[in-house]
């Protein structure tokens, strides 16, 4: 298996805070990789660096061997790196279907994009298939703002899938979601993985991570301190120290929602 996504020696400081400090990570093709660590350890910043929202001070990110450090989020998405956000970000005033169509990739000039209708029948059908996959077909014409928190997570997953990404980064897919929907989300991830999609998942729900991910990276103070299967991660002393001896629990308060 080759590394689909490779992060090498990435550093990023916000003022005096070193959010990422020489952090490296690699995700093999076809894997469901987990990324865990105490609050403020730099997981979300690492996601932001990988998806182009934050430019790293040092280090490189590559997808299938191609260096993409510092590319725009739009370009990274078209290269096949999809991403969901910790606090779901959907287009509340657009309908669920329109949310899906925003993500539809089409390579055309601006003039054509003005002249052509928003979506072809094929694009709508593709979107409907994906909505069906996450069980939201029924709600296709509702404004997305009406969806529950869990449904928004599913919508976010669905519209990331529209562009058929190679690797999908999920930022706390199970956070703040009711247990039934957590199972639903897990099933979808397993199904997608079986069809060849690669995942990198940040999650505080340990049960969720340990069940799903064969490969777990633990972050602490901006570094990847450990990489291994769940059995190793569960018992490693450094991981226990990172979580229990933590001294920066005040970061990313909203992370706390679904611990355990």
């Amino acid at each position: 298996m080759t590394a689909l996504l490779e992060v090498a020696g990435v550093s990023k400081a916000f003022g005096g805070l070193r959010a990422l400090d020489d952090c490296s990570l690699s995700v093999a093709e076809g894997a469901i990789a987990g990324l865990i660590g105490p609050n403020g350890s730099g997981k979300t910043t690492l996601f932001n660096v990988i998806t182009g929202y934050v430019r790293p001070d040092a280090g490189s990110v590559s997808v299938r061997g191609e260096t993409v450090t510092g590319s725009s989020p739009a370009r990274l998405f078209s290269l096949g790196v999809g991403r969901t956000f910790q606090l779901t970000r959907i287009f509340g005033r657009l309908s669920v279907m329109e949310n899906m169509l925003v993500a539809t990739q089409r390579h055309e000039g601006w003039l054509r994009s003005v002249l052509r209708r928003a979506a072809s029948a094929a694009e709508v059908n593709h979107a409907l298939e994906l909505l069906d996959f996450v069980g939201l077909t029924r709600l296709a014409d509702l404004p997305a703002a009406n969806l529950s928190y869990g449904q928004r997570k599913l919508l976010e997953l669905a519209y990331v899938l529209v562009a058929d990404p190679q690797v999908i980064l999920l930022d706390e897919p199970a956070g703040g979601v009711n247990p039934t929907l957590v199972n639903e989300i897990r099933d979808r991830i397993v199904e997608l993985n079986a069809s060849g999609k690669t995942f990198l998942i940040v999650e505080h729900n340990m049960e969720f991570v340990m069940q799903l991910c064969a490969d777990i990276t633990v972050m602490h103070q901006g570094r990847a301190i450990l990489h291994g299967p769940p059995s190793v991660v569960r018992t490693d002393q450094r991981v226990l120290d990172a979580y229990l001896g933590g001294d920066e629990d005040d970061e990313e308060l909203d992370d706390d929602v679904a611990v355990g």
């Binding site: 739009a74 993500a103 209708r117 409907l128």
Partner: protein, 372 residues
């Protein structure tokens, strides 16, 4: 409001427009168009047709402004820069080329639009790097730069302004030529607005309004989308600015580049309904005649400003989203309530489904103007 969802979407649609309602809407637009075309035949009083020309100019400007600001959520308060650029393009060129007054001058109208959109490219590149409040302030600042340039350049006639050719048309029906020229501008602005609204480009603009960073993360090239919308919007405003210059016969920097123009078109769009197609038209048709009436009634020309201010407060208090969304909601809510009632009678219980809130709430959330 639901216009973007393609008809092929098969799922049941709560609160959607029925085909009949859609046809009624089409008929209403046709009647409205016919009325606008027939207007000069119905009213020949030059005072009234003059008010009509100004009203059309503002309907066009507000529609064009809304096609950028209403859809993208970027509230631009500097479109008077493009209005003035269009006006000066016609005035300066016809003066320099010694164009005789007559129909030929109208050829400079599209040119006014082109020059205005060319001017909008650098303006947009600078201003669109900022967001929200900063963007508003930057557009105002850039507008004042345009006004200063017009006051100080010699080729624009400095502070004494610039004359446009005087046509030798007879007084009867004199205004009608300008009326139809402005009407063509309105048709173009409306066509552009509809085109944007129906296209993928428009969908991307609406996505930017809701969450620009998320849109970028889904492959929307946000800078390009915003800039194109900004430039297209400036085109229509520039064209109608040229008509305005020709109609007045003489333009001055402080009137062609009028900060009140910015506030007026924004107020018109807010009053009618930001982000809707009919709202800006309605807003302009209510406010511009009102302003002209006040100007004619009270020789102190600024009385209307007090009325505008009061009206703005009333709109914000009673219909924060404008007339059109408020009325649409009211109708939709009533229809849903009636059909729910029918369902309840049929099922013997409250027939609501798993979705937490009904379509009435949905529309409210959907149409909140501007900000996050």
């Amino acid at each position: 409001m639901n216009g973007l969802t393609p008809p092929t979407a098969g799922a049941s649609r709560a609160g959607a427009r029925l085909p009949g309602a859609r046809r009624a809407q089409g008929v209403a637009w046709l009647v409205f168009g016919a009325f606008l075309i027939a207007f000069p035949a119905l009213f020949t009083n030059p005072t009234i047709t003059s008010i009509a020309v100004f009203t059309l100019i503002f309907m066009t400007s507000t529609t064009a402004w809304n096609a950028f600001s209403g859809y993208s959520g970027y509230l631009a308060l500097g479109h008077a820069a493009f209005f003035g650029t269009g006006a000066y393009t016609l005035a300066v060129l016809t003066t320099d080329l010694h164009t005789p007054g007559g129909y030929g001058v109208f050829w400079f109208v599209p040119l006014g639009g082109v020059v205005a959109s060319l001017a909008a490219i650098p303006v947009g590149l600078v201003a669109l790097r900022t967001r929200r409040h900063t963007f508003v302030v930057i557009t105002i600042a850039i507008f004042f730069i345009f006004q200063l340039l017009a006051t100080n350049f010699s080729f624009t006639g400095s502070s004494s302004g610039e004359q446009t050719p005087t046509p030798s048309w007879s007084a009867a029906g004199y205004n009608d030529r300008f009326y139809y020229a402005a009407l063509v501008c309105l048709a173009i602005a409306l066509a552009l607005a509809v085109l944007i609204r129906r296209s993928r480009f428009g969908l991307q603009l609406l996505a930017i309004r809701d969450d620009e960073d998320r849109a970028a993360g889904l492959g929307v090239r946000v800078t390009r989308v915003k800039l194109v919308a900004f430039v297209v919007s400036a085109f229509s405003v520039g064209m109608v600015g040229a008509v305005y210059a020709y109609f007045l016969g003489q333009i001055y920097p402080q009137f062609a580049f009028d900060p009140l123009f910015d506030l007026t078109i924004a107020l018109m769009a807010f009053l009618g309904g930001l982000g809707t197609l009919s709202g800006p038209l309605l807003g302009a048709m209510l406010l511009e005649p009102l302003q002209q009436y006040f100007t004619l009634q009270f020789s102190a020309g600024d009385v209307y400003l007090i009325v505008y201010g009061a009206l703005f407060l009333v709109v914000i208090l009673l219909m924060p989203r404008g007339i059109v969304p408020a009325v649409t909601d009211f109708v939709a809510t009533r229809r849903v309530r009636r059909s729910n009632l029918a369902e309840q009678v049929a099922l013997g219980q409250g027939g609501t489904q798993e979705v937490a809130s009904g379509p009435a709430v949905a529309d409210q959330v959907q149409a909140v103007p501007g900000g996050a």
